[in-house]
C-alpha cells in the first residue's frame, strides 16, 4: 500500500468511536461526575530531595467541606507501587525523592476547598543534596536514593572480542549522543472517578494501559482482594505509554474508601508535568569500526540512562535500548553495556519507542559517519552491512525471519525524497540550505523474553444475538476498537451492527495483557484465529439443526447464518444470530489464553517479532537562525497486512510528528530537580504549522510464506528512526554533525557577516 493518506480499500471505515468523538458526546473518564461527589487533590513535595521529619494535617482536616485527609498512615496495605518493582511510595513516610512525590491528599466538596485545605498541611523537610546528574549519581560520594544504591539496573551484551577487533579496523568513529527528557503531553491529563459501591467493592474509572495490572497494584495497596476492585479504563485521551503505571489511582481509591463517597481527581497540566513520567534521557557513547571495504567489524556502546527517582519500567527500557544499540546490522564483535541510574530528576518510564528511539539515534548516527569516512553512499553502506533474514537477533537470539528490512531499505532507495539528495534546487536566499537524510531500524514488539506477556481473548454470542469480542485492552486513540471491528467483520463476513466489542473493564473482559509494546494487534489476530473457527462452527451447527440444512452449505454473514448460493438459488438466511441466541440458550462463549510470541532462546528481554521501518526526510536549515524545517517525509514500514488502513496511516503520521518533536523542539528541562518547562507554553510540541506537507507512507504488507503471526503492531515504529534521518539531512545541508537532541540552534546558526566577508574577498577585493 503506497499512500499519501488517501483512502485505500474497502477496509477504510469510519471508526466506531467516531460519532461520539466528533460531537463531544463521548464521556472520557475525566469527564465523569456523580452528584455529591468529592474533589481530590494531592500534595506533592516542595523539595526534590529531602527527609520528611513531620507531616501535620490537623488544620486541613478542620476546614469545613473537607471529608477526608490521608497520609501514609492511611495506607492499609503496601505503601508502594511500581509495575516491575514497587519502590515508589504511595504517600511518603520519611523521605521524598522528586518534586512529584505525594505526601498527603485531601477530598473535599469543591476543588477550591480541597486546594485550600492542601495549603494548610504543614510538612517539615530536611533537604538532602540534589542528585541531578546520572554520572555524578554513580560516584561513591553521592547521596544514595535507595537502599541498594543509585543503580537501578545494568545490562551487558558481548559477542566476539571487540577490544582486539578495533585494532584491525581501517576507520573508527567515536561519538557521544544525548537525547532529551521528552514528555508524552497527552491532551487529556491523568484523572478519574473513584466510587465505593454499596456492596463494598470499589469501582475505579481511570485511564491505564493495563487494567488488570492496576487492579493488582491497587489490591496490594488497599489490602483487599483483586475481585473487590473493578477497573474501567477506557476511553482515554492519549497515553503513549505514560498512563500505564499508576498515577492518581491510589489517592482516589484511598480517599473514596476513607470518605465512603465517590471522589473525582483530575490533574491540572502543571500537576501532570510535575508528577508524570518522561522518556529516559540517555547519554550513549559509541565506538564503531569498519574495514577497508566498509564492512562493520567492531561496535561498542555505553548507555547511561537517567531513570529519575523510582524504578517503574526503567529496567526493561534499558534492556530494550541495549538490544537496539547495534541496529539491524551484521557486526561480528559487539560490546554493549548499559546502566540505569536513580536521580532526583522526575521519574522516567514507559514512552512510545521504549528506549529504542535513543539507541537508534546513536547507532544510525554512527553509520552516517562511518559511511562518510569510507567514502560510500550512506544508504549503500547500510545495504552492505544489513543483516540477512535468517540471521539471529541483536542479542544472538532466534527471531522470526522477515524480508521486511530489505524491502524497507529498497523503498527508501527508490523514493523520490531520497533522490533529491543529488538534485538540490538553487535557493533564492543564500542562507537557506537543503539536505536529505534517511535511517533504518528494526523495532521489537511484545515485552521480551522472561517478562510475563499474557495474551488471550473471548469470543461469544450474546443473549441479544451479538457476536461479542472481549479483550483487556484500552482505546487511547490507537484505534483498537476499529481494528477489532475490521478483524471480526472480515472473519465473519458480518456487519458492524452484529458486533459487540468489549474492552477496558476488568469485570467484563478476560485478562489478555496490556495495550503496550505494539502487541495488541498481534494478540487479537492470534486470539481470533483460534476463537473464530470454534464459534463459527458452533453457530453453523446450530443453524444447521434449526434450518435442516447441511453444515457444509452454510456460512456466517451479515445478520446471521446464510445458505451459500448455488446454481439453483441465491443465498438466503438460515437463522439470525438473535434466533440462534434464543435457541441455543444462554451465552455461547469461547476463550483462549496464550503468551505473546517469544524467542525460544533464554535471553532476558530478547524480542522475537520485529517491525522494520525506514524513513527518508528532506529538511531545510535557515543558517540565520539555526532553525530546521522539514519539507518532506517518506516512511516505509514492514509490518504485515494493514488490518486497519486509516489507523495504520494515522499511527505512522502521529508517531512521526512526535519524533519530530523529540528531534527538534521537545525537552522537559529540569534544574536542581525542578521542572522549568511547566506547561505547553514552554514545553514545545509541534503544531500543524511545523508539519511537512509532503508525506508518503509505503506500507510493506507481504509476510514470509507460512508466517504464523499475521499483522505486526505499528504503534511505535513510526517514531524510532526519524531523528537520525534528520541528523543525516543536516549534515547534507550544512556539513555539521549533530549529536544532541533536540538539535540546538546554536550549533547550526552561522554569522551572516562571515558569509558577507567571504563574498567580498571572493569578489577580488584589492
Amino acid at each position: 500500500m503506497l499512500t499519501r493518506g488517501e483512502r485505500t480499500s474497502h477496509k477504510w471505515r469510519r471508526r466506531p468511536d467516531g460519532p461520539d468523538k466528533v460531537t463531544g458526546a463521548l464521556r472520557y473518564l475525566t469527564d465523569m461526575s456523580l452528584p455529591g461527589m468529592l474533589h481530590g487533590k494531592v500534595l506533592r513535595s516542595a523539595e526534590p530531595h529531602a527527609f520528611v521529619l513531620d507531616i501535620r494535617t490537623a488544620k486541613a482536616e478542620r476546614v469545613p467541606g473537607v471529608a477526608a485527609v490521608i497520609t501514609h498512615l492511611d495506607v492499609p496495605g503496601l505503601n508502594r507501587f511500581g509495575i516491575v518493582n514497587p519502590d515508589q511510595p504511595v504517600l511518603c513516610e520519611d523521605r521524598v525523592r522528586y518534586v512529584g512525590d505525594a505526601i498527603a491528599a485531601v477530598a473535599a466538596d469543591t476543588k477550591e476547598t480541597a486546594e485550600y485545605a492542601l495549603s494548610l498541611i504543614e510538612v517539615d523537610y530536611e533537604p538532602i543534596p540534589v542528585v541531578d546528574d546520572p554520572e555524578l549519581a554513580l560516584l561513591p560520594e553521592s547521596p544514595k536514593l535507595h537502599e541498594g544504591g543509585n543503580v537501578l539496573h545494568r545490562t551487558s551484551y558481548r559477542k566476539g572480542e571487540p577490544e582486539d577487533a578495533f585494532a584491525g579496523c581501517t576507520h573508527i568513529v567515536e561519538g557521544t549522543y544525548y537525547t532529551p527528557r521528552q514528555m508524552h503531553a497527552y491532551m487529556e491529563t491523568e484523572g478519574g472517578l473513584f466510587v465505593p459501591e454499596a456492596d463494598g467493592r470499589l469501582t475505579v474509572y481511570a485511564a491505564t494501559q493495563h487494567g488488570y495490572k492496576d487492579r493488582m497494584q491497587l489490591s496490594r495497596i488497599l489490602g483487599i482482594p483483586e475481585e473487590a476492585i473493578r477497573i474501567v479504563s477506557s476511553p482515554i485521551g492519549g497515553s503513549f505509554g505514560g498512563k500505564d503505571e499508576l498515577n492518581v489511582q491510589p489517592y482516589g481509591a484511598l480517599l473514596a474508601r476513607k470518605a465512603g463517597i465517590p471522589v473525582k481527581l483530575h490533574n491540572s497540566r502543571r500537576e501532570s508535568v510535575r508528577a508524570g513520567l518522561k522518556r529516559h534521557p540517555m547519554k550513549i557513547v559509541m565506538k564503531t569500526g569498519i574495514d577497508g571495504e566498509g564492512r562493520l567489524i567492531a561496535h561498542e556502546a555505553r548507555i547511561t540512562a537517567d531513570t529519575g527517582a523510582y524504578s517503574t519500567l526503567g529496567a526493561p527500557v534499558l534492556n530494550f535500548a541495549t538490544e537496539h544499540a547495534s541496529g539491524p546490522y551484521r557486526i561480528p564483535h559487539v560490546s554493549i553495556e548499559g546502566v540505569s541510574v536513580f536521580t532526583n530528576n522526575g521519574v522516567s518510564g514507559e514512552f512510545r519507542g521504549f528506549g529504542g528511539n535513543q539507541a537508534i539515534f546513536a547507532v544510525e548516527s554512527q553509520m552516517n559517519r562511518l559511511a562518510e569516512l569510507a567514502g560510500m553512499d550512506p544508504w549503500e553502506f547500510r545495504r552492505l552491512n544489513l543483516r540477512e533474514p535468517d540471521d539471529p537477533g541483536p542479542l544472538g537470539q532466534r527471531i522470526l525471519p522477515s524480508a521486511g528490512l530489505l524491502k524497507a531499505w529498497q523503498s527508501i532507495a527508490d523514493s523520490e525524497v531520497w533522490s533529491r539528495r543529488t538534485r538540490k534546487p538553487t535557493e533564492s536566499e543564500p542562507w537557506i540550505k537543503r539536505g536529505v537524510g534517511a535511517a533504518l531500524a528494526m523495532h521489537g514488539s511484545g515485552l521480551g523474553y522472561g517478562i510475563p506477556d499474557p495474551g488471550g481473548g473471548r469470543l461469544s454470542l450474546t443473549k441479544e444475538g451479538k457476536l461479542e469480542a472481549a479483550f483487556s485492552f484500552e482505546e487511547f486513540g490507537q484505534g483498537i476498537t476499529a481494528t477489532l471491528e475490521l478483524m471480526l467483520m472480515e472473519r465473519f463476513g458480518c456487519g458492524a451492527d452484529d458486533l459487540s466489542i468489549v474492552i477496558g473493564d476488568t469485570d467484563r473482559v478476560p485478562h489478555t495483557g496490556s495495550s503496550t509494546a505494539s502487541r495488541s494487534t498481534t494478540i487479537a489476530h492470534i486470539a481470533l484465529s483460534k476463537l473464530h473457527p470454534q464459534l463459527s462452527e458452533r453457530l453453523i451447527a446450530g443453524a444447521s439443526a434449526m434450518a435442516g440444512v447441511a453444515a457444509e452449505r452454510l456460512m456466517t454473514g451479515p445478520g446471521g447464518i446464510w445458505i451459500k448460493p448455488d446454481d439453483d438459488s441465491g443465498s438466503s438466511l438460515a437463522a439470525t444470530y438473535k434466533e440462534l441466541a434464543e435457541t441455543l440458550g444462554g451465552e455461547l462463549a469461547f476463550e483462549t489464553k496464550f503468551d505473546f510470541p517469544v524467542t525460544p532462546d533464554p535471553i532476558v528481554g530478547g524480542h522475537y517479532l520485529y517491525t522494520c521501518a525506514a524513513v527518508a526526510v528532506e529538511a531545510e536549515i535557515n543558517t540565520l537562525t539555526g532553525a530546521v524545517r522539514l519539507l518532506a517525509k517518506h516512511h516505509a514500514v514492514a509490518a504485515g497486512p494493514a488490518v486497519n488502513p486509516m489507523g495504520y496511516i494515522g499511527q505512522i503520521e502521529g508517531a512521526s510528528v512526535m519524533a519530530q518533536g523529540f528531534t527538534l523542539t521537545e525537552d522537559a528541562l529540569m534544574l536542581d530537580g525542578h521542572y522549568k518547562t511547566e506547561n505547553l507554553d514552554n514545553y514545545i510540541v509541534p503544531t500543524i504549522r511545523d508539519v511537512a506537507d509532503d508525506f508518503t507512507l509505503h506500507a510493506i504488507e507481504e509476510l514470509p510464506e507460512g508466517d504464523p503471526y499475521g499483522p505486526r503492531g505499528i504503534g511505535e515504529v513510526g517514531s524510532v528512526a526519524l531523528a537520525p534521518a534528520i541528523a543525516m539531512a543536516v549534515r547534507d545541508a550544512v556539513g555539521k554533525w549533530v549529536n544532541r537532541l533536540p538539535i540546538p540552534r546554536e550549533e547550526l546558526i552561522e554569522s551572516f557577516a562571515s558569509q558577507l566577508a567571504g563574498k567580498t574577498e571572493g569578489a577580488g577585493a584589492t
Partner: protein, 156 residues
C-alpha cells in the same frame, strides 16, 4: 462572596447562573452546565482543546472569564449541529481526523471558524487557522485532509 449574575445564550438556550465574575467560561460550561464536550488540557490557552465560539468568533474558554462573556451567544461542540452531523464532523469521520479525540471538539470548532471566514482555504490558510490547536495523536495529517475535504480544493 460576590453575587454576580451571569447570563448568556449557550447553544441556543438561555442560561443564567450565579458565579464569580472571574470564573472561567470553561468551568462554567463543564462543571455548571454539564457540557463536557469542551475539554480541559493546558488551562492557559496554548492548546486549543477548550475552543468554543463566542458571538461567532473562536475563543479559548479557559481564558475567558464570566464577566467577559456576560450577555454573549456561546456555541460549544454540542451545539454545532442538531440531529445530523455538520459537514466538518462528517469530514473528520471520513478522513480519520482524530484518534484519541480529546483535541477534536476544539479542533472542529476552529475548523468551523476558519471555514466561516475563508470557505475555500489554501493549505497555508488552514495551517494558520489551526495553529492554536495541538493534536498529539494524528500528526495533523488526517485533520488537514478532513478540512480540505469540506473546504473545497483550493490549490496551495
Amino acid at each position: 462572596m460576590n453575587p454576580y449574575t451571569w447570563r448568556a445564550v449557550v447553544n441556543g438556550a438561555e442560561a443564567e447562573l450565579h458565579v464569580q465574575p472571574a470564573e472561567r467560561l470553561l468551568t462554567i460550561l463543564r462543571d455548571d452546565l454539564g457540557l463536557t464536550g469542551t475539554k480541559v488540557s493546558c488551562e492557559l490557552g496554548r492548546c486549543g482543546s477548550c475552543i468554543v465560539h463566542m458571538d461567532g468568533r473562536p475563543v479559548n474558554a479557559c481564558l475567558v472569564m464570566a464577566y467577559q462573556c456576560n450577555g454573549a451567544s456561546i456555541t460549544t461542540i454540542e451545539g454545532l449541529a442538531e440531529g445530523d452531523l455538520h459537514k466538518v464532523q462528517e469530514a473528520f469521520l471520513e478522513e480519520g481526523g482524530f484518534q484519541c479525540g480529546y483535541c477534536t471538539p476544539g479542533m472542529i470548532m476552529s475548523v468551523k471558524a476558519l471555514l466561516d471566514e475563508t470557505p475555500n482555504p489554501t493549505t497555508d490558510q488552514i495551517k494558520e487557522g489551526l495553529s492554536g490547536n495541538i493534536c498529539r495523536c494524528t500528526g495533523y495529517g488526517g485533520i488537514l485532509r478532513a478540512v480540505k475535504r469540506c473546504g473545497g480544493n483550493a490549490s496551495k
